[in-house]
């Protein structure tokens, strides 16, 4: 393989792992609450701005700013869930989805008011630095986005597979009433889903801000993670990772060989084709047919 295609693939996987983090948020909230959260991209955007404020205003070093961003984003996710979503429990799904759309514009406007609408540069210790692997020269940010994204995914997959809380969240996703009978507090499951969704989105936001720049409308990048979530299956955590990486890869390759329009269209074409064959996505579950 030529180095050019390898370069494109690594760039694609880097974007893809950011998509995967945002798709994970879509999936978690969908699984827990049955709604598609259209403010997912805004959670990413706000997370990036939080990090930006911590390093520029408070002059915090990278690691401190990064960890504090996770904490503050988690709190934001919890507060948003409590204020806007909790009271909508039991209302028609469509109304709740519209609420998330409203929430999205609210977050964009507030960010614009606080930070201005002009583009801002976001710096991490990896910004602008490259890394040579044999003949291949790649951006450090790309490498960290891939490694960090995949590592976060492994952590969350282990959480859902092995921890009592994680298993309980999966049980609640399947049958809320029976989960209640087991002593699971559904309100807390909702809150925790929003916390995790906001935390992973903020990590994606920091990497994305580093690869590109900050502005309130960067949240629309988050909507481009929607095909990733659909491709993997809206209710599959592992699917979000595979879907995100696949979409990132195809976008990177299409961008390199076909140009901007190809880059825009390729993910949606891929999703259309896959969904026609598998309406529930690659790893989505419908229901088990008893043998």
């Amino acid at each position: 393989m030529g180095t050019e295609i390898l370069q494109l693939m690594i760039g694609g996987f880097a974007t893809g792992s950011i998509y995967a983090l945002i798709a994970l948020g879509f999936v978690l909230i969908y699984k827990a609450t049955g709604i598609l959260n259209f403010a997912q991209g805004e959670l990413m955007m706000v997370g990036a701005y939080i990090y930006f404020a911590l390093v520029t205003e408070l002059q915090l070093p990278f690691l401190a700013a990064f960890l504090l961003t996770l904490v503050l984003s988690g709190i934001l996710g919890l507060v948003l869930e409590f204020v806007f979503i909790e009271r909508m429990v039991g209302e028609p799904v469509f109304s709740v989805v519209v609420i998330t759309l409203g929430l999205a514009s609210l977050l964009r406007s507030l960010t614009g008011i606080v930070f201005g609408v002009l583009e801002k540069g976001l710096a991490t210790p990896f910004s602008g630095k490259s890394l040579a692997i044999g003949p291949l020269v790649i951006w450090q940010t790309h490498a960290y986005a891939i490694v960090g994204g995949v590592a976060l995914f492994i952590i969350f997959m282990a959480f859902f597979k092995f921890s009592k809380t994680g298993i309980g969240m999966r049980a609640a996703a399947e049958d809320q009433d029976v989960a209640r009978l087991m002593g699971i507090n559904i309100g807390r499951v909702f809150g925790l889903s929003w916390i995790i969704a906001a935390v992973v989105a903020s990590v994606g936001g920091i990497f994305y801000g580093d690869l590109s720049f900050l502005e309130p409308h960067m949240s629309f990048f988050g909507l481009r993670a929607l095909p990733a979530a659909l491709l993997g299956g809206l209710d599959s955590v592992g699917g979000a990772l595979i879907g995100g990486l696949a979409i990132g890869l195809i976008e990177g390759l299409a961008g390199g060989y076909l140009g901007g329009t190809g880059q825009e269209l390729a993910p949606w074409i891929l999703v259309l084709v896959i969904l026609m064959a598998r309406p529930y996505g690659l790893f989505g579950t419908r229901e088990i047919k008893r043998v």
């Binding site: 039991g90 009592k164 298993i167 309980g168 999966r170 049980a171 399947e174 049958d175 809320q176 009433d177 029976v178 989960a179 209640r180 009978l181 087991m182 002593g183 699971i184 507090n185 579950t285 229901e287 088990i288 008893r290 043998v291």
Partner: protein, 264 residues
């Protein structure tokens, strides 16, 4: 240990489903709650477990007490924590979770160290579940799912176990197996049980005391060996008549209807 006193339940603020029912379950006993479809048995169980508020239901009158404490307005997790566990109608295992994960969810609220030992006990009680512990519960047979639902409820270490129609949809042989397990739980683990059933044969095989429910009311209650001899119960719930051997249909059971009217 459980005292339900004159409880009325209304759905959607208008539909009166429980019209003032009372029943009590003593520690260590097995009590049966019998009634036809739509009588209000499941509603009674949901009222005890605190699930009504999520279905637009409301206990508008009466009290539900567990060990002397009023639990009318408690949340389901609070009630589980106090020691009431339910096997819901239709089993409702978590089909996407493995057998072992289902059991873990059953112990969700527990922080004590005996969870592992209790899990071992469940495997002992249901060896077939042990063999399939890593299989998604959706792939189990109906009988295995019923055993899993019972095991899952046991994992919270309840003091009272409520089973909502455990015989539903099972073959006679499996019904017998399930009720053998119920009898064992009572005898060996000294579990207190409230069994909701339409299958009076099965329920009477283990319960000492029974309540009969019709249209949101308790129409009769007595020791089960007396209920078995009652002509109306015999006709309507056991399908036995003294002169014919065939099962009677509902509208043939005139005396039952007369009696019901008289009681209500």
């Amino acid at each position: 240990m459980l005292e339900v006193r004159n409880v009325k339940v209304v759905y959607n603020d208008v539909i009166l489903v429980l019209k003032g029912i009372s029943l009590s379950v003593a520690e260590g006993s097995i009590v049966a709650l019998l009634g036809a479809n739509g009588a209000g048995k499941t509603t009674t169980a949901k009222a005890v477990c605190g699930l009504l508020e999520f279905q637009d239901g409301n206990v508008t009158e009466g009290t539900i007490e567990f060990f002397g404490a009023r639990i009318n307005d408690c949340s389901p997790e609070d009630i589980v924590g106090r020691g009431i566990s339910m096997v819901p109608e239709g089993r409702r295992v978590f089909v996407q979770l493995t057998v072992e994960e289902n059991l873990k969810v059953g112990s969700y609220l527990r922080r004590d160290s005996a969870v592992r030992k209790d899990l071992e006990d469940i495997w002992q009680l249901f060896p077939s579940l042990w063999r399939r512990r890593d299989v998604k519960a959706g792939y189990l047979s109906g009988g295995e799912q019923q055993m899993l639902a019972i095991g899952r409820a046991m994992m919270s270490r309840p003091r009272l176990l409520i089973l909502d129609e455990p015989s539903l949809g099972l073959s006679p042989r499996l019904v017998e197996e399930v009720f053998q397990v119920i009898a064992r739980l009572n005898k060996e683990a000294n579990m207190t049980l409230l069994i909701i059933e339409q299958n009076a044969h099965a329920a009477f095989s283990v319960a000492r005391y029974g309540y009969i429910m019709e249209n949101g009311r308790i129409v009769m209650d007595a020791d089960t060996d007396r209920l078995v001899r009652d002509a109306d119960v015999k006709e309507f719930y056991l399908g036995i008549t003294d002169n014919t051997s065939g099962r009677k249909s509902f509208n043939q059971v005139k005396s039952y209807k007369r009696r019901k009217r008289w009681l209500s």
